[in-house]
C-alpha cells in the first residue's frame, strides 16, 4: 500500500470571465501519481481548470494547491502540453528541449543538450533532432512537446487535448507513449491531468475519470478506474467492464446535455 500524498487540491474553486461563471464550486483532490482524465463537452471549462492548475490563470474564487502550497504562478514542476503545438517554431526540436532544460535546471548548454537528446530518444524522435517544427508532422511535433514537458523533470503533467488534431494511428501510438511515460514509472510517479472530450481515450488512459458538466462547469461524475493491463487495444476495449464504464460516462454526459435542453430526466430515462 503506497502512501497517498496530496498532489492537486482545489477548494470552492470558481472562475468567471466577463461576469459569466465558467467554473463553479470545484472541490477536487488529486493524489500524486494519479492519472486523471478530465472529460467534458466544449465550453465546460476543462481548459480553464487545467490553466488554473498550471498557474496560468488566477482563480476568481476559492483556492488551488499543489503539494499543499497555494499555486501562484506557472512552474516547470507542472508541465503543460497544449493541443496547438507549442514548440517555438524558430528553434529545432533539440534547441526547444535544450532551452527548456537549461532554463529550468540551470545546467550548462552541453549537459542540457545531452539530456535533451535522451528525452527526444525516449519519445522516438532521435532521427529528427535538428528539424524545425514546420518540417515535422503533427504527431511528431506533439511527441516533441511531450519530450519537452517531461524533460524539465515535471512532477505533474497537464495535457490539454494533446491529440485532438491527430489522425487515429498517430493518436493510438501517442496514447500508448503517454501511458508508458506517465503510468509506467514506479519510482517517480507523475501526476497527470489529461483533458479530452473522447470518452474512449479517457477510459483507456486514466486511473480516474472526472466529468465536467457545462454552464457553469462543475463536476458531475468522478469515477475511479481499475482495469487490467493494456496489452491488446482491440481486446481491451471489448472487455465488459470497460464497455460498462463507457456506457456510464455516456449516460452522465447525456443527462447533463438533456437537462440543459430543458428536458426533465428522471432516473435512467429512456431516450
Amino acid at each position: 500500500m503506497t502512501t497517498k500524498q496530496n498532489g492537486f487540491e482545489t477548494t470552492n474553486l470558481g472562475f468567471s470571465y466577463d461576469g459569466r461563471a465558467i467554473l463553479k464550486d470545484i472541490n477536487l483532490k488529486i493524489n500524486q501519481g494519479e492519472f486523471v482524465c478530465l472529460l467534458g463537452e466544449s465550453g465546460s471549462g476543462k481548459t480553464t481548470l487545467l490553466n488554473l492548475l498550471a498557474g496560468l490563470t488566477k482563480p476568481s474564487e476559492g483556492h488551488v494547491y499543489w503539494k499543499g502550497k497555494e499555486i501562484e504562478k506557472p512552474s516547470a514542476e507542472r508541465s503543460v502540453v497544449f493541443q496547438d503545438y507549442t514548440l517555438f517554431p524558430w528553434l529545432t526540436l533539440l534547441q526547444n528541449v535544450t532551452l527548456a532544460i537549461k532554463k529550468t535546471k540551470k545546467l550548462k548548454t552541453s549537459y542540457a543538450k545531452n539530456l535533451a537528446e535522451e528525452y527526444l530518444n525516449l519519445v522516438g524522435l532521435s532521427g529528427s533532432l535538428h528539424k524545425y517544427p514546420f518540417e515535422l508532422s503533427g504527431g511528431m511535433r506533439q511527441r516533441g512537446a511531450i519530450a519537452r514537458a517531461l524533460s524539465v523533470s515535471a512532477d505533474a503533467l497537464l495535457l490539454d487535448e494533446p491529440f485532438g488534431a491527430l489522425d487515429p494511428v498517430n493518436r493510438a501510438s501517442l496514447q500508448d507513449l503517454v501511458l508508458e511515460l506517465c503510468r509506467g514509472v514506479k519510482d517517480r510517479p507523475i501526476t497527470t491531468l489529461f483533458v479530452t472530450h473522447d470518452i474512449r481515450e479517457a477510459v483507456y488512459l486514466g486511473s480516474r475519470i472526472i466529468v465536467l458538466g457545462s454552464t457553469p462547469g462543475r463536476i458531475i461524475a468522478d469515477i475511479p478506474l481499475d482495469f487490467p493491463v493494456k496489452k491488446n487495444r482491440g481486446e481491451w476495449f471489448r472487455n465488459e467492464k470497460v464497455q460498462e464504464t463507457i456506457a456510464t460516462i455516456e449516460d452522465a454526459y447525456h443527462k447533463d446535455i438533456l437537462e440543459k435542453l430543458g428536458h426533465i430526466v428522471q432516473g435512467g430515462a429512456s431516450i
Binding site: P74, A76, F82, T86, W90, K103, R148
Partner: protein, 254 residues
C-alpha cells in the same frame, strides 16, 4: 502551342520591358520635333551612365552615407521601444497618444525646421530619414509584439523565462514578421525622404545629381541619374529580402 504560351507567360515581364524600350527608341529616334531633347535616346543615356560613372558612384555613396546610419538608428530605437511597448501595457498606454499624433505627420514638413535648427545639411537629412523610418518600424514592431500568440507566452512562463528575458528571447523573435514589414515600409519612406532632402538643399547624393543636371537641361545625365537610383534601390531591396528570407524561414508553415 502550349509550350509557346507557357514561355510567353514566363518571359512576359522581359518582353514587356523590351516593348517599352522599343517605344522609347521610336520616340527618341523619330522625326525631329520641338521637345525632342527632353527624350534622350537609350544610347545617349548609356553613354551618360558610362561617362558619369564616377560621379554616379560617388553620389550613391553619399546617399548611402546618409541613409544607412539614419535607418540603422531608427531600426534599433524603433524595434527596442516597439518590443517593450508591445509587451508592457503601461508603456504602450504611455506612448499611444504621442504616436497617434506624431506618426501620421508627413516627414517632409520637418525639413525647413530641421535645416533651421541643425548645424549641417547632413544632419538635417539624416534626421528626416530617421523620422521617416522610425514610425513604421516602431508601430509595426509594437503591433507584432502585442499580438504574439498566447501559446508562446504560456510556454515561456512554464519553462521559467523571466520578464526581461521574454522581451528579447521570445517577443523579439516572434515579432520578426511584423518587424520586417515595418522595416520594409520604413525603407521605402526613407528612400523617398532621402531624395527629397537631396533635391532641396544637399549638394551631394543621388537626388542632388538628378536635380543638378535638370538645372542644366542635361537630360541624358538626368535620366541616367534616375535609372541609377532605381538600380541602387533595387539592389538594396534585394539584399533586404535576402536577409528577411534567412531570418523568417520558420514562418513557412504558420
Amino acid at each position: 502551342m502550349r509550350t509557346f504560351t507557357k514561355y510567353l507567360s514566363k518571359f512576359s515581364g522581359i518582353l514587356f520591358l523590351l516593348f517599352l524600350l522599343g517605344i522609347w527608341v521610336l520616340i527618341s529616334c523619330g522625326p525631329e520635333w520641338d521637345s525632342q531633347y527632353l527624350f534622350p535616346s537609350p544610347k545617349a543615356i548609356l553613354k551618360a551612365l558610362f561617362d558619369s560613372r564616377e560621379e554616379l558612384l560617388r553620389s550613391a555613396g553619399a546617399s548611402l552615407l546618409k541613409l544607412v546610419p539614419a535607418y540603422l538608428v531608427a531600426s534599433i530605437i524603433g524595434i527596442s521601444i516597439g518590443i517593450v511597448s508591445g509587451s508592457v501595457p503601461w508603456v504602450s498606454n504611455m506612448l499611444k497618444p504621442i504616436s497617434r499624433f506624431a506618426a501620421p505627420i508627413p516627414p517632409n514638413v520637418y525639413i525647413p525646421y530641421a535645416i533651421a535648427i541643425l548645424p549641417t545639411f547632413y544632419l538635417s537629412s539624416t534626421f528626416i530619414i530617421f523620422i521617416a523610418a522610425f514610425w513604421p518600424i516602431y508601430l509595426n514592431t509594437a503591433a507584432g509584439a502585442a499580438e504574439i500568440p498566447e501559446k508562446y507566452k504560456r510556454n515561456a512562463a512554464i519553462i521559467g523565462i523571466g520578464k526581461f528575458e521574454y522581451l528579447w528571447r521570445i517577443a523579439l523573435v516572434a515579432s520578426l514578421p511584423s518587424i520586417f514589414s515595418g522595416l520594409s515600409v520604413g525603407m521605402g519612406l526613407s528612400f523617398i525622404m532621402l531624395t527629397v532632402a537631396e533635391l532641396f538643399g544637399e549638394n551631394t547624393g543621388l537626388g542632388h545629381f538628378v536635380q543638378f543636371y535638370a538645372d542644366y537641361s542635361d537630360y541624358p545625365n538626368m535620366v541616367a541619374g534616375i535609372l541609377w537610383t532605381g538600380i541602387v534601390v533595387l539592389a538594396i531591396m534585394e539584399l533586404f529580402e535576402l536577409v528577411k528570407r534567412k531570418l523568417l524561414f520558420w514562418t513557412k508553415a504558420n
